[in-house]
């Protein structure tokens, strides 16, 4: 069976018998819209313009938008050109105003700095006056100080003189002490067969006071009574032993020596004060425990 035959048979399909009463039912169910509700719609063939109206509307809208965009672009380009022309003078004017503003700001700043500097100058001038005042006071004080220094130097020389005199007095006191000790030695020798004593304790009865055993210059030794007398408390030294009154050359036989002043007590009773320069030149000799000054 070919297609044409099949199509022919299909087109010959028999009609369908409609059930009874369907036609009446359908006619009874007719519910038409109200009159006048669809007046705007007409089934008459529409003219060409109405048929193409939707498409034409879109096309006109598109063309209008396109033209509007073109016009806007043109206006924008013109505005750009117009704007590009006078921009230079405006920029120059703005630059001038801007520069003037900057200069004004600089001037204000400089003015403020000037005021500040003036205040600082005033302050410094006040400080300078203070400094001048202090300097004057300083000069005054220096002068006063120099005066005081001069006075003190004068006082120093006085002290030296006093010290010198004091030392001289002490040396004289030392000589006096040795003279008294020498007198006591001779008294003790007369009582003991012409023999001089070898220690100070032995002739304590002949000594009027223990203070004469102490050189006034010697600060280390001190003896207030004969009980406390020990060699450490005695300033003077016995340099010869076993001496008698009949020994030879008594004027050069040294009995006692002051180690501070170098003062010498000789066996004949005289005392000789020795200066420091001469002390270096003195020569001694020892003979049987006796010390002789070499003349």
């Amino acid at each position: 069976m070919n297609d044409e035959k099949i199509e022919e048979l299909l087109r010959k399909a028999p009609g369908v018998k409609t059930p009874a009463g369907l036609h009446q039912t359908l006619q009874g169910e007719i519910r038409l819209p109200q009159r006048g509700a669809t007046d705007a719609i007409s089934f008459a063939p529409r003219p060409w313009l109405r048929r193409w109206l939707p498409e034409l509307s879109f096309a006109i809208l598109f063309i209008t938008c396109f033209v509007a965009i073109g016009v806007q672009l043109k206006v924008l380009s013109n505005m750009t050109v117009v704007h590009a022309g006078p921009v230079e003078p405006r920029d120059r004017e703005q630059d001038r105003v801007w520069v003037e503003k900057l200069q004004l700001e600089h001037l204000r700043k400089d003015n403020a700095d000037l005021h500040r500097l003036r205040e600082e100058v005033n302050k410094l001038q006040a400080d300078l006056g203070e400094v001048e005042k202090l300097r004057a006071e300083n000069q005054k004080l220096q002068a006063l100080n120099s005066a005081v220094a001069t006075q003190s130097s004068a006082e120093g020389s006085l002290d030296d003189a006093l010290e010198k005199e004091k030392a001289q007095a002490q040396a004289i006191q030392c000589v006096n002490n040795l003279k008294q000790i020498g007198l006591s030695e001779r008294i003790w020798a007369q009582d003991n067969g012409g023999k001089f004593t070898s220690n100070f304790i032995s002739m304590s009865n002949e000594l009027s006071t223990p203070f004469i055993l102490k050189c006034p210059t010697d600060k280390n030794t001190s003896a207030t009574n004969f009980v406390d007398i020990i060699p450490a408390n005695i300033s003077y030294q016995m340099v010869s032993t076993d001496c008698t009154e009949d020994a030879a050359d008594l004027s050069n036989l040294v009995l006692i020596q002051c180690p501070v002043h170098g003062t010498l007590l000789f066996a004949d009773g005289h005392v000789e004060s020795i200066t420091p320069e001469r002390r270096k030149q003195l020569q001694y000799k020892k003979v049987d425990g006796k010390t002789y000054l070499v003349p």
């Binding site: 399909a13 009609g15 359908l26 006619q27």
Partner: protein, 184 residues
């Protein structure tokens, strides 16, 4: 015919019940036949026909005359049928007796008994086609719509209608040949 139908439509839109009744008279048989052949029973076909005309009256204002009234009514009938199928309704198989009964109603279109038997056989094969193929066969061959009208009813392209018809005919032919070979 078309002008007469257009005038009836305009009158019906204006509320003329007689015009609407004439439109029912003109088209209810075709609509019922379309539904009857697809559904397979009179009751469902009657219901679908009633729904179709109810929608026709309610949508009459939206009919703009671009297509013929017949095509427009068939379109509404097709949508009513599709909605009915989507609700899960099944199609009843049409027995050969129904086709024979239909043929007995009027003068037989077939030349002889062999042709009639062959036609009944083809109708049975059409019912076995897929839904898309069956719809185009019904609308184009059974309802007598043109290819463009069928395409408009189904809201598909005319070329698609041609393609589906070609596929349907090929399927029918191949199945028919196969049955003949089995019979031999």
């Amino acid at each position: 015919m078309n002008d007469e139908v257009q005038q009836l439509c305009e009158r019906a839109r204006e509320g003329d019940v007689e015009a609407a009744s004439e439109l029912v008279t003109l088209f209810y048989q075709r609509v019922f036949a379309y539904h009857r052949r697809l559904c397979g029973n009179d009751d469902d076909a009657s219901d679908l026909t009633q729904k179709t005309f109810a929608k026709v009256w309610s949508s009459l204002a939206s009919y703009n005359g671009r297509s013929s009234f017949s095509t427009w009514v068939h379109g509404i009938g097709h949508h009513v049928y599709v909605d009915w199928r989507r609700k899960g309704n099944r199609l009843d198989a049409k027995a050969d007796e129904w086709w024979e009964a239909c043929e007995a109603e009027g003068p037989s279109p077939f030349e002889d008994a062999a042709e009639r038997e062959m036609a009944n056989h083809l109708y049975a094969l059409v019912d076995q086609l897929e839904e898309t193929g069956r719809e185009v066969v019904h609308l184009h061959y059974y309802q007598g719509l043109s290819l463009s009208e069928t395409a408009e009813v189904l809201q598909i392209a005319t070329s698609t209608v041609k393609y589906r018809l070609r596929e349907a005919l090929n399927s029918i032919r191949s199945k028919s040949t196969e049955l003949k070979l089995r019979a031999k």
